[in-house]
């Protein structure tokens, strides 16, 4: 596999995590334009942990995820009382505030004669954990996919659990869920917390894959793409957003020859998909048909 394909596949894996993060909130009926903030928090925190404090990657990733989760829960507790459009705007405002804060965030220490750490608009250089530990880009790609597989497995397990059912209840009719004894605000904050953790872990991988990060990486377009992946892939099952990521990145890479117009094409793709499949390719209805088909096939085999 050449370096180009490793980079594209690594990107698909890492961006899938922000897509899953946005997907979880979409399942709960909330559109967040701010998941890039937790992705960025995860990237900076884990970068600081490994490059400046000498922590191993796993600890840094966990710290990035946990700080991302805490921030998401805090923002969620403040904003999830407001619904729909207002929540979306609040998340966007928070994410932009975080990005602008990163422009003035400076925290550097001297390691081996050079300054390492976040340096405001100049970004954060020297996140070299994978080189210092002799991990190749291909090996790191497998680490990314290992983490992604764990997150997807966890989410699919959650979707079959009581918690997953509650998230879907809230997403499909939060008034009815309330009337059935569900503390909607509490569970929405919990969903925001889990989504923040997933985004934070994704950001940690991103920082270590690119070894350099800057505030501009975590702009609103990253959040919009994260949302679009869920809406393209579908809200019926956790692997829906991964299909969305694969379609989108595959599509964008395939139209490199129209450099400069790619985002227009991407916008068009999202618009067309939303017209024909408003809840994505693998929406609840299609996923239900697939499940029913599989069940019938299994039934036919056993009989």
């Amino acid at each position: 596999m050449d370096a180009y394909h490793v980079t594209v596949l690594s990107n698909i894996g890492m961006i899938s995590l922000i897509a899953l993060s946005a997907y979880l909130l979409l399942v709960c009926g909330e559109i967040s334009f701010g998941q890039q903030a937790y992705f960025g928090i995860g990237a900076y925190i884990s970068g600081i942990a490994t490059a400046m404090w000498g922590w191993p990657l796993w600890s840094g990733m966990l710290a990035g995820g946990l700080i991302g989760a805490s921030a998401a829960a805090f923002v969620g507790a403040l904003t999830l009382r407001i619904n729909g459009f207002y929540f979306s705007i609040a998340t966007l405002a928070f994410a932009e505030m975080m990005r602008l804060l990163l422009y003035v965030f400076r925290y550097q220490v001297e390691i081996g004669g050079e300054l390492v750490g976040p340096d405001g608009e100049n970004g954060f250089h020297g996140i070299r954990w994978i080189f210092e530990n002799d991990i190749s880009t291909v090996e790191f790609m497998w680490i990314i996919y290992g983490v992604l597989a764990s997150v997807v497995a966890g989410m699919m397990f959650m979707e079959r659990s009581r918690l997953g059912r509650i998230f879907r209840m809230i997403g499909q009719d939060d008034m009815l869920a309330r009337m059935q004894g569900v503390n909607v605000l509490l569970y929405k904050v919990l969903a925001a917390l889990i989504a923040g953790f997933i985004a934070g872990v994704g950001g940690s991988l991103y920082a270590h894959s690119f070894t350099y990060i800057e505030p501009q990486f975590f702009n609103v377009m990253l959040g919009v793409h994260g949302l679009a992946y869920g809406l393209i892939g579908g809200l019926g099952v956790a692997f829906g957003p991964l299909v969305g990521v694969a379609i989108d990145i595959g599509f964008l890479e395939a139209i490199r020859w129209i450099q400069g117009y790619r985002m227009i094409a991407f916008g068009g793709l999202v618009a067309v998909m939303l017209i024909f499949w408003p809840r994505g390719i693998f929406d609840e209805k299609r996923w239900y048909s697939i499940r029913r088909c599989l069940r019938r096939m299994c039934g036919a085999e056993t009989s």
Binding site: Q172, D173, Q180, E284
Partner: protein, 237 residues
């Protein structure tokens, strides 16, 4: 069991409910009728905690619930259906019942869900998506949901809406034989045959005020009720 004392609900300058007193006893089935806009659904929303009353007291089993969050009220054992049917459209009929049990203290299992679905004639629809059911079947799903939750107070908001006379008759039998025994029921309905078949007591609301309350036969023959709701002289009230 349920006691409302001088309950008022004001939306802006409009009094939707004015100084309403109402009691529903244990095991009692009470009908609630009134013209459109008389405050029936507002009353259900107040009891179930959709919004708190402007003033007054709502007590359930002696406990004040007027300022309690809706999910906490539901957990006390108050279940309701909706005038505009609400189901989880992306879940199957069975998953809708499982969802109803999620926040309920009821321990109903699969057998009880099957039994509830049989009682509302939805057993063969258990694995269908609720969003694809026709309207009368969605209404029956709402009733099955109530059956599995074993609430202590059931509030049915126009349960026969959109039903044929034969379906309404079946619904009356279901309410009498399965839903009502052992629990209090408050039924909002415009179809008088359902009210007379199920309710021994009837309360009439008009412009947010209680117009009459008593035995169903007596209330239905009350001159003011006939004039305001059943008869043709609504303008005189």
């Amino acid at each position: 069991m349920l006691k409302l004392r001088e309950v008022c609900m004001r939306f802006g300058k409009t009094d939707a409910i004015r100084l309403l007193n109402l009691e529903v006893g244990d095991g009692e089935v009470v009908g609630l009728i009134g013209p459109n806009g008389s405050g029936k659904t507002t009353l259900v929303n107040l009891i179930s905690g959709v919004y708190p009353p402007t003033s007054g007291s709502i007590r359930f089993d002696g406990r004040e619930i007027s300022r309690l969050a809706a999910h906490k009220i539901a957990r006390l054992g108050i279940a309701r259906t909706f005038q505009n049917i609400r189901v989880y459209p992306g879940m199957t009929v069975r998953e809708n019942l499982q969802a109803a049990l999620t926040g309920s203290p009821s321990l109903s299992g699969r057998d009880e869900m099957d039994s509830a679905l049989r009682q509302v004639q939805l057993a063969d629809r258990a694995e269908h998506l609720a969003g694809e059911l026709p309207l009368p079947e969605r209404r029956r799903l709402e009733l099955a949901r109530v059956l599995v939750c074993h609430p202590r107070l059931v509030i049915l908001d126009e349960p026969a809406g959109g039903m044929t006379p034969a379906e309404t008759e079946d619904l009356a039998q279901l309410i009498k034989n399965k839903l009502a025994p052992g629990r209090a029921c408050l039924i909002i309905e415009h179809k008088m045959n359902l009210i007379t078949a199920t309710c021994r007591r009837l309360c009439v609301l008009h412009r947010g005020v209680k117009l009459a309350d008593g035995g169903t036969g007596r209330v239905l023959s009350d001159r003011r009720v006939i004039d305001c709701y059943i008869g043709t002289a609504a303008g005189k009230c």
